[in-house]
Structure formats: C-alpha cells, structure tokens
Amino acid sequence: MSNNTTEKVRASLQKRYFKEKVFRSIGVVAIVASLSFLVVLLGSIIYKGYPAFKASYIQLDVTLTEETLDVSADAEDSELRRANYLGAIRTALRERFPEVTKRGDKRNLYRLISSGAEYALSDFMMEDRSRFGQTHSLWLLADDEADALLKRNKDLTKPIRTGENAKNKDALITRLNTDQLGWLQSFKEAGETDVRLASTFFTNGDSREAEQAGIRAALIGSAYTLLITFVLSFPIAVAAAIYLEEFAPQNKFTDIVEVNINNLAAVPSIVFGLLGLAVFINYLQLPRSAPVVGGIVLSLMTLPTIIISSRAALKAVPPSIREAARGLGASPVQVVTHHVLPLAMPGILTGTIIGLAQALGETAPLLMIGMVAFIVDIPNSVTDPATVLPVQVFLWADAPERAFTERTSGAILVLLAFLVVMNLTAVLLRKKFERRW
C-alpha cells in the first residue's frame, strides 16, 4: 500500500518539478520585463537629458569702449548697466569675420551667440568698472542651435539635411545654414569654442531661450511648496493618528472618520486642486501661483497617506510598552509622548517622506491654482509666484524650440534624483531605527 503511494508520488514528481519551474520562470520573466521597461525609460531620459548639463561657449574679443557701448566712461551705474552691450558683441563678431558685409548675413552671424550674452556682459562690466575702455577676451554662451551641434561634437563640414540631402541619414539636422556652419567651424578650428558644465541650468529661472533656461526657480518653488506641505501636514497628521490610535473610543463616529481618511487617500489629486481654487483663492483670496496655496493643497493630499502610515507605526508598538509605563505611574499623555511616539517615530517619518515624495512629483492640482506659469525671477517667499519641477517639465515639453527636449529630460533627471534621495532616506531610516519586537 505504502509502496503504491511512493510509486504514485515518484511518477508525479517530474510533473510537479516542471510546474514549479514554470511558476518560477513566470516570476523571473515578469521581473525581467519590468526591469527592461525601466532601463529603456531611464536610458532614453538619460540619453536625451545629459546634454542639458553641458553648455557651449564661444570666445570673442569684445571691446568695451565709449564707441561700442554708447556711454561715456563716467556714466552713472544705472546708465552703464543699460549700455549697448548687444552692439559691443555685434561689433566683436563683425571684426572677427570682416568678410561678412550683407545685412542678412550679418543677422545670421549674430544668431550664433545667445541673446542672453548681453546681460552676462553687462554683469561682467558692472563687477569692475575699470574694465571700461579695454578689450577683453570673453567666453560667451552659444545660441541653442549652435550649442546643440558643438556639445555633441558634430562634424560641421557635413551637408545639412534639406533639399536633395533630405534622405541622407548622415547629414546634419540643424536650422543653421552653411554660412553659419562655416563660421562655427572657423571658431572651432581656432580653438575658440568650449563645452563646459552648464551652470546656467542650475542658476537660472525659466527662459524662452533654451540655452539660458534653468531649473532654479522651479527648484526653489518646489522647496517652498514642500516646506508648507510638511509644516501643515506633519503635525496635523501625527495628531490625528495619535488621537485615533491611542485615545479615541471605538464607536460609529471613529469608524466614519476612518473610512473617510482611507477614502481621501484614493481621491484623484485634481479634485484637491479644484478645492484649492474654490476655497483658498476665490474665497480666502490667497494669491494665485503661490507656493503657499500649492503647499496647502498638497498637504490635503498627503494628509491621509501620513495618517495611515503613522497609525500603522503606532499600532506596531507593542501594548506591553504602554502597560509597563502605566504600571510605573505614567499618565496616558506621558505614555504617548515619552514612550509610544519615540518608538513609532521612524515609521511615522518614513510615511511622511514617502508622502512628501508623492507631493513633489504632483502636477495636476497645481494646474488649477495657477502654478503652471512662466517664472523667470527666483521666488523669495512663499507668496511669490512660483512653479515646481514637474510643472517645469510639463511647460518645457510643450515648447516649440527643439533644444527644450534635452532640458525637459534634464529636469526629469533632477526630479528623479530628488525622489530617489527621498525614498532612499526613508528606506535607510527604517533600516536603522526600526525595532522588531
């Protein structure tokens, strides 16, 4: 009889092993598939985005004199600041290429240098007034089309992909013409071009000129918004969690509250934006496009996340701790503040960080309260108009200039970096302080 069973088992063993193998390989395939999606996604973003962190410069000998700037040496500071720096740059370009005489050609020549160079030159002048009357060899930011070719180190002598070369895959895709490419090549051969780390990407606000556009305003806006979100949602959520977990009686009312909190966590975020528009902007008259409103709206959104994770963390503290504290004569408040809360804190902070990371990546509710705006000036307070990183990505993705494609991916990379850091902090925090009972 028993022999018979062993036989049966042995006969089916092969089949069972096979089934297990299939089951395991399905799991492996699923992981490989999702990993490869991730790799493709990240790969394409990094491939498109890394040039955003580089910028090309062109060296020019710029003469800063009364003649080129249209102001006298003893002009007031304000007058000197607004002098004709554009003219000085154009003169320098004409001197570099004296053979360019036609008006249209000159205009094409001027287009190689970024339109922001005149402001950089103005700043250079104002740094030290003794620079007046001299010729300086300066590195000026290249315009986006020239920048795109220079920083990818393209061969500028190749044909351009238009007309009969439309199908030539080897040809250059650029809006520059052959003259402009020739001038660029001349700069390049003379060693007067340089590709550097793009500091402007981190120090500038938004701009309509791709080569000058940066994420500073959006970063600061995100920081202000998250600060407000944290200041509002953390204390409220922790207080709510402690009350519900430690003090609240079990009755219909607390049941309703609990159901509502769980429900709130699943409400689409755009709904919070509509609420923000109706209540905070239209009724309370808070300013549009301001981080303070963004922060309030996002804290409404993150509250349920933090409450739920805080309650879980509080629940994980074993009752024996509470009983021991009580036994030694601690009041209920002392039990919570001296024992339960400190022990639950790592879990609460983890939940908070994850909630904030979610808020950092949020766009939809901010659309409604006017944070989808063109912001050049860096915001100085929570009531200044601002935008946030994901919204900046959204705005750049819609810009007609091609050079914004790389900026879009670059901004996504920065956003991803912040999210990774935040989530990593959450994981480390949990690893380091979590106690198993």
Binding site: L286, R288, P385
Partner: protein
C-alpha cells in the same frame, strides 16, 4: 507640538495679510498660442527694466477671459492673451464685473500649418480637399445634395491629382484653440464651396462643417505639437496640423503643404494669402495701470518695432507681424490706452 501649531497659524496669518497687499509684478493669463510670444517679451522686459518679470499662465483663451473679467483688484490678472477676438458676451461679462476700461491690442498672426515630413512629397491641396478628406459627413460623391458618411480613404479619391496615399492626419483635440481655428478657417472654407451646405441654417452648417471624422483617419494627437512633429518624422505618409511656430522651429524636419496654392510661409501669412491663419490679441485692464507697476511699459515693450516689427524678435519666434502701417497705428492707439467701446 503646540509650538508647531503656533508656527502653522502664524504662517497662515502672514499669507493672508500679505495677500491683501499690492502686487508688484504684472499677472498675465490666457491663450497657449500667444504664450510662447508673450513669455519672450516678458523675459526681455524683466531683464532690461527694473520691474519684476511678469508671470504668465497658460490658461487658454476662454479661461483667460473668464479670469480677466472676474473684476478689478490685485487678485485678478492685468492682461489676458487671446488667439481670437474677445466675444461680445465676454465683453458684457467684463462690464458687469466692473472691468469697464479694456484696451485691445492686435499683435500679429499665427498660421496653422498643414504639413508632412520632408522625406515625403509636398502636398498641394485646396480647402475643399481638406474638408472632403477630414469631415465626418461629406456631400454624396454621386452629386446629389445629401450628406453621407465620409467614404474616402485615399487622397487620390478626394482629388485625382493628389498622390495615392492613405489619408492619415494628426491634429489637435477639440479642447485646443488650434482645432477651433482649423475648423473655422480650413474646414468651413472648404465646405462653404458646396452651395447646398452654405445655404443651410447656421447650426446645421456648423455641424456639417466642423465635425471631424472619427474613423481613425483623423488622429487626435493631444495638445503637444512637438509630438505631432515627431510622429510625422516617423511616418512620412501622414500629415499634421499644428501652429506655424512649430513649423518654423522644425523646418528641417517637416514641410508645409500648399493650401490653395500657397505654402505656410512667413510672407504669405503676413499678406493674408495663406488661408489658414488667425489673429492674436492681448487685452489690458486699464484700471490697473498705475496700480500695478510696469503695465504701460510692458505694453510699450510689446509694441516696439524691435519686438513686433518685421525684424523683431517675435518674428524670430514664429509670430507673423502686422503690416507696417497697421503697426504704427496700433502702437499709437495702444500707448494712448484707447479703450474698447464695445464688440459687435
């Protein structure tokens, strides 16, 4: 914990008190078509003057008008951009809410490109061809004066002179201003060439002309014009509908089709020869001039020759300027802040 609550309360109190204070930057809302142009001007304005850079929100023309007309005061926008003229109903709404002094500025034109990849053959279509290829219901091909569901699947069926390629057009969704303008200018222009549709009642006429086909030949590609350009590159047989500034910025990848014998080129749009173009406006709340600093100066910057002129920087960004005389006249009227008496 009580300290935190105190802090929270004080932050809230602070913001409420700050909100009541005056605003020192110009607030602009409105059309996403004007957005790329207005932002350039705002940036230049911020960099070259001591005023703060205006903030510009892209809300769409209709959304902008609504915000603009909510009333006067620092919590309402000072300027709204629009890719169409203010409607009479919007003007009335403004009046009712106390926005009585509105200055209208016509800044230029935007062409809507009907384009394909440079790798394909340039198309030469008429508005009638566009209508027949893209409308949901078209006049019966047998010549009777009835509408039938669009039977065409190849361009050569629409018009024997066109190449024998499948009709596939990528364009904006109904929420887009570009779509409205395309329906009004291209589709209507094409369908009014059929006498019997032209003599229909207004409602039926619009239904017949503006409804795009939904059988997959017209593909709604979302609001992002960059996406359409990318898709045209990938599929040389497809055509796309998008704003002129995207054509200009991608002139090495896509080419404009000839519409009624005219390609969407700078001069053709400026002269009004290209049939699918629309006017761009912005509206200024005169009552805010003097309250919010810099409005008059911003308007002056916008209407300066180096900005909106033939060689101005807006032309570089793809906006089609007004004629020279029109510009001089408009600049004078605008800088004198002549208000709008009414819209009919």
């Amino acid at each position: 914990m009580s300290k935190r609550i105190l802090l929270t309360a004080s932050v809230l109190a602070l913001t409420v008190s700050q909100a009541a204070q005056a605003r020192d930057y110009i607030s602009i809302v409105g059309s996403s078509t004007v957005f790329p142009f207005a932002t350039v001007v705002a940036e230049k304005f911020g960099k070259s003057t001591d005023f703060s850079t205006p903030t510009i929100e892209s809300t769409g023309s209709g959304g902008g008008m609504k915000l603009f007309c909510t009333g006067i005061g620092v919590d309402t926008p000072d300027i709204t951009n629009s890719s169409r003229r203010m409607k009479a109903s919007e003007f009335e709404m403004c009046q009712e809410n106390g926005v009585t002094d509105v200055v209208e500025v016509l800044i230029g034109f935007d062409g809507i490109a009907f384009a394909n990849s440079v790798e394909a053959q340039q198309m030469d279509v008429s508005l009638t061809d566009i209508y027949l290829a893209l409308a949901k219901d078209v006049p019966n091909p047998d010549g009777s004066e009835t509408l039938v569901a669009n039977p065409y699947s190849m361009w050569s069926e629409v018009n024997p002179e066109l190449p024998a390629i499948e009709i596939e057009v990528l364009g904006p969704p109904p929420t887009s201003g570009t779509r409205d303008a395309f329906a009004e200018l291209a589709m209507e222009g094409g369908c009014s060439t059929f006498g019997f549709i032209d003599s229909m009642e207004k409602k039926d006429f619009q239904a017949a002309c503006h409804t795009m086909r939904e059988d997959g030949r017209y593909v709604e590609a979302g609001e992002n014009d960059n996406l359409i350009v990318q898709k045209l590159q990938a599929n040389p047989d497809a055509l796309g509908i998008f704003g002129y500034s995207f054509l200009e910025q991608n002139s090495d990848l896509v080419q404009s089709s000839m519409v009624d014998g005219v390609a969407a080129e700078f001069d053709a749009i400026a002269d009004g020869d290209y049939p699918i173009s629309r006017p761009l406006y912005f509206y200024v709340k005169k009552q805010h001039v003097g309250t919010v600093p810099g409005i008059a100066e911003y308007v002056a910057e916008f209407t300066a020759e180096r900005t909106w002129g033939d060689d101005g920087y807006l032309a570089d960004k793809g906006m089609i300027p007004l004629g020279e005389e029109a510009r001089v006249e408009a600049a004078a009227a605008v800088n004198a802040m002549t208000t709008l008496a009414g819209i009919n």
